[in-house]
Structure formats: structure tokens, C-alpha cells
Subunit: 361 residues, 2 copies
Amino acid sequence: MAEEIVHHRTPQFSRIFADVREGLKTLFGTKNDVLVLTSSGTGAMEAAVANLFSPGAKVLIVNGGKFGERWLKISQAFGLEPVELKVEWGKAVKVEAIGRELKLHPDIQAVLLQASETSTTVFHPVREIAGITRNGPLLIVDGVTAVGVLPIAMDEWGIDVLVTGSQKALMLPPGLGFIALSARAWERTAKAKSPRFYFDLRLERKIQQQGTTAFTPAVSLVFGLRAALKMIRAEGLERVYARHERLARATRAAATALGLRLLAPEDPSPAVTGIWLPKGMDGDSLLDYLRERMGITFAEGQDHLEGKIIRISHMGYVGAFDVLVAVGALEMALKKFGLPVKLGQGVAAAEEILMEALHEG
Amino acid sequence: MAEEIVHHRTPQFSRIFADVREGLKTLFGTKNDVLVLTSSGTGAMEAAVANLFSPGAKVLIVNGGKFGERWLKISQAFGLEPVELKVEWGKAVKVEAIGRELKLHPDIQAVLLQASETSTTVFHPVREIAGITRNGPLLIVDGVTAVGVLPIAMDEWGIDVLVTGSQKALMLPPGLGFIALSARAWERTAKAKSPRFYFDLRLERKIQQQGTTAFTPAVSLVFGLRAALKMIRAEGLERVYARHERLARATRAAATALGLRLLAPEDPSPAVTGIWLPKGMDGDSLLDYLRERMGITFAEGQDHLEGKIIRISHMGYVGAFDVLVAVGALEMALKKFGLPVKLGQGVAAAEEILMEALHEG
């Protein structure tokens, strides 16, 4: 990323961009174009809404956390008629509940949800949901903390729109959004009447197939993306997924060994683990302490979970020792804050699982 | 920019962001917020349109090049009713022509134009235009190759919306857009009915005043921006402007000394110089030759100017020797392509002007 910036309308850029485009297709599990947008993941989410729908369109929003709520807000901003399916924070949506809503509202044009809902550390059953939307409404998936973290086979499963960002599994600074559309989603873009220009995917597809972007892209991040995709290729996608799954299990085992409850025990995301703090403990102070005294940043809870949970990320450029550091820091901080934890107990539980990697060939 | 990424909802980020916000206000010449968007400059242009107007709003577009045309396309995409004021490529718009249109269409809500129209290397008389819009329609200025290149005093002149991007005078990789609104422009945002979410400036202003951004920003570029603003502060804004003006004059003098005609002799932008190639010369081949054999990239002409002109940038991280290199390369390439130039003649003319800097204190 520190390389000299090349202009985006040069053969040099196009060579790099072609490489990146191929790598993204593998990551998304699609033969369709994965378009590169200069925006956060939210920009790519807006692109999905603006390019596929007209005002008044009825869509089903799975709202089980802050990012589900974001689909709702974007849909409202664009004048759609969202049907909201509320899901308790920490739980995954039930496939049957989606089936029920689709029967109740046969005019629903699409189902919008997260694969991994980062705010509640839940993984929604995307593959099973795709089973019931395949010949019905479009399935639009925010994969921001899922693509590159766990296997998502867009074409095979039947996902119509898949979105992600640069700063999670792709290990880059934030600044790029990615979006891919199925053939039937592309058909809808011609009919959609919502205004869009910066996020006009028809224009982007045309120009990106020619080896550049419609508007000036974040060139240094595209360079970084090429390097990140190369790293993923070198490790091997299957091993990347297995690593995430192992780090997640180790983190959950550590929390449980420390006597803490998991926020999403039944449907946990392999990207991030949510942990309830003991009743009465001041979560904000705990996180401040961890950051200021130990240099360790955990994510806080949002909205009604603020101060009550912590979230530990283990996706992207993360390995076994990052989990050990996180768990070790947590043990010490909890003890400092008065919880009678036995130091090393969480780490021991994590190590039991992390050692599995040593048995690999 | 190679520093470790910090999360954008941390005190560390907020400290850096506060610094950046102050620096941008100075650069824009405004007391209002300059909002940071993770997008190209075009995203910031779209933000202006989406936040200020409702479908059907009549606006006057000064279309004298590719970027004027972009205002037109964005306005059309959002269902406005643009009145197009066409200007010959290479010429600046006449203030009187704008006055005429405003009289003809008293319901025009805003005038949209470029300060520096990069595609035609023209500088439009923004300050004079502000004189006639001050108590009338809003004045919305794309300052992508103007802010930080030459003095633009947003508040003093009476510009209502000013937009720029990270990759020109701010010397950064692309990926950030910036936008500031006057008090009366902010008033309009409440009434505007165009849909927007990712570019919702009301939300951004609220969150940015709290020290972070509504959505995940391009953190590494924000770090770089702090460094770039520090460099500009160290050189001094007045000296930065004088440098651009001098480099532009040197480039124009060199072209003239080589017997070439300028694309915009009357109203040249200090950011970039457009030069007509001799009749019959294949501009595309010339640019390929410059890039491949000399490692020098000039911009080509667009649309009907393709192959007929070249554009040489001299804004941002550029000094006297960059101009010498550009002119030297041009001389050699022209000779190679059969033009009987006297080698060194362009360079000599440039040096005459560049030496002025040596007389400074």
C-alpha cells in the first residue's frame, strides 16, 4: 500500500485490478463480477438497495442487531416498504419464521439480512434460508464479517446479492466495499427506479469489465487487496476457514472456563465472540482499563447491551497467540475488577483447542 | 498511513480526527464543518445533490467539460430538472451568461459548477459568480482540483457548498471526499426529499462533531490526511498557492516556447495545463511512448479532445524539478515523433520562471 499511486486509467492499474477481480470471485464463490466500490461496507449495502428496488417495494428485513437495523434504515431512506422480522439479540433467525413472513406477504421482493451479525456475534442460517428463497424473492446478504471468515458459496447456495468490506477478513484498512449480484439480481437493476449515481452498479460493471472503475478508486487499498488475496491464496481458503473456526471455539471455551456466559451460545459467528460480563460489573470501565493499561481493544456492546457485554474479534489477520493474549488480558482485567477468576484457567481451555492445529499435517 | 489501524470509535481516532477537522476548515476558508466521506470526490458531489434538492428542483449546470457533465448526470439521476449552460471546452463560463440564465429561470435553486475543470484545464470565475448568487440561488462548487491549489475563501466569497477529494492538492491516495455547507445550505437539507443514507450529511455532521464518522472511515487515509495538512501548514498556504501558480506559468511558458498552443490560454487553471498537440500527431501513441519508454504519465484528452491534447498536472506534491522533468520528457518525445523542436527550449522558458522562487526570502 506504500507503493507509488498509479493512475486508475493506466495499463498498470488494469493488470492489478484484473488480478484482484479474479481473487474476489473465488472468495465470493461466484462466477459473476464482484464490483469494487470506494466506500465502507455500508456504501455497498446502499448500492444493493438503490440498484434493485423502486420506492414502495416490499422487502423483508431480518433485524436482530445493529446491522440488521441498518438494512431497515437504508430501506426506509429509499422509500421501500420494509417488513421487519425482529429477532432477539444473541439469537439467529429461524428459517421457519422467514417462511411464515413470505407466506403472509407474497409480494415481498427480497429478504435482507446479515450472514454474521457483528453486533450480536450471531451467525444466521444463510444457506438454509437460500433454500426457501431460491425460486422466490431475492436473497440479499451483508457478508461483512462472513466472507473470507467461513465458507459462503454464493452461486451454489443461491445468494443473489453478497456484500462485504475491506477491513475484516480481507485484513485491509477500511475504505473499500465489495458487491456481487446473481443473474436474476442483475435483471432487476434495469427496472429499479431508485436514484443512484456514485453507486450505479450497471455503470460500474461495464467499466470494471474494461479494467478500471467508474470513479477514482482508493488505489492504495486496491494494491493492498491484491496482497491480502495473495496471502489468503497462500494459506488456502479451507485452512483460513478452519483457523477462524478454531480461534472462535478456543475463545468460547476460554470464556466458559472462566465462568462467563456467551451472548450467542447456540448460533455463534466464527468472526467474533460476545461474552456477558458478570452482573454489576462496569463494562465501560473494564474496556477502558484493558485499552489504557494493557493496550488491548475489545468491542463494547451496543444499545441495550452497552456495558453488559464485550466482543472479541478473531477474524482476518489473527492467529492462536492473539487469542491467548486476548484471554490472558481478560483474565487479569476481570480479576482486577473483583471477579474471583483463577488466572490461567481461560488460557488453558483455549490452548486445549488451539493445539489441534499442531496435529495437522 | 502505514501506522496500525485504530478503531474509529476510540479516543485515539477522535484526537486525530479533531486535528484533521480543524485543518480542513482552514483549507476551505470556512467556519462550518468540513465533513469527511469515505468515497471519491464524485461521492461528495452526489452528497451535495442528494442532500439539498428534491426531485423536480430546477438547477443551473455549467457544463464546460467532463466534470461539468458529471454534475448534469448526477442531477438527472436524482430526478432534478437541470438547465444546462454549455461552455466551449477550453473556455471559462461568462458571469453574464449565468446572470442571463438566472433571469430567464427565476426558479433556479442553485448553480453547480467546477472551480477548476480538470478535463479542459480551465478555471471558472467562482468569486465573481458568487457575487451574483449571494442573495439568490445556492452556489455549489466542485473544488476537486482547486481547494489547496489556489485561494478559495468559501465563507468570504459566499460559496454554499464546496467539495474536494484526497488525491489532488491534499497529496494523498484517493479514497476520501470532503464537503462543507454554508448555513443557508444546511437549512435546505431539512427540506430536501432525495433519498440518501450513506451520504446523509445531517447524520454525518452530528456524528463527526462527536469525533468520529457515521460509518467506518478509510482510517489509514485519515492518518495520511493529518500528515498532509501538517505539510501544508509547514509550507504555509500562501506559499503553496504561489508555488502552484508559478509551476503553472512555467509549464505554459515551456509549451509556448516549443511552439505549441495552450488549450485554455485565457482562463488557465493553476492545477493542470492542457496543450494542443501539432495537427496530425497521434497523441495516444505519444502518451504511450512517454509512459513506457520514459516512465512519465501525462493525462490524455477526453471525448472529442482524445489524442489531440495532453494535460500536465502540477498540483499537490509537485515542485520545480517535476516541471523540468515533464517539459524535458515532452521535448524529447515530440522530437522523436517528428516535430522539429529545439531541445532545451521549453526547459529554458520554464527555468526563467521557476527561478523566481530563488529570489524569495
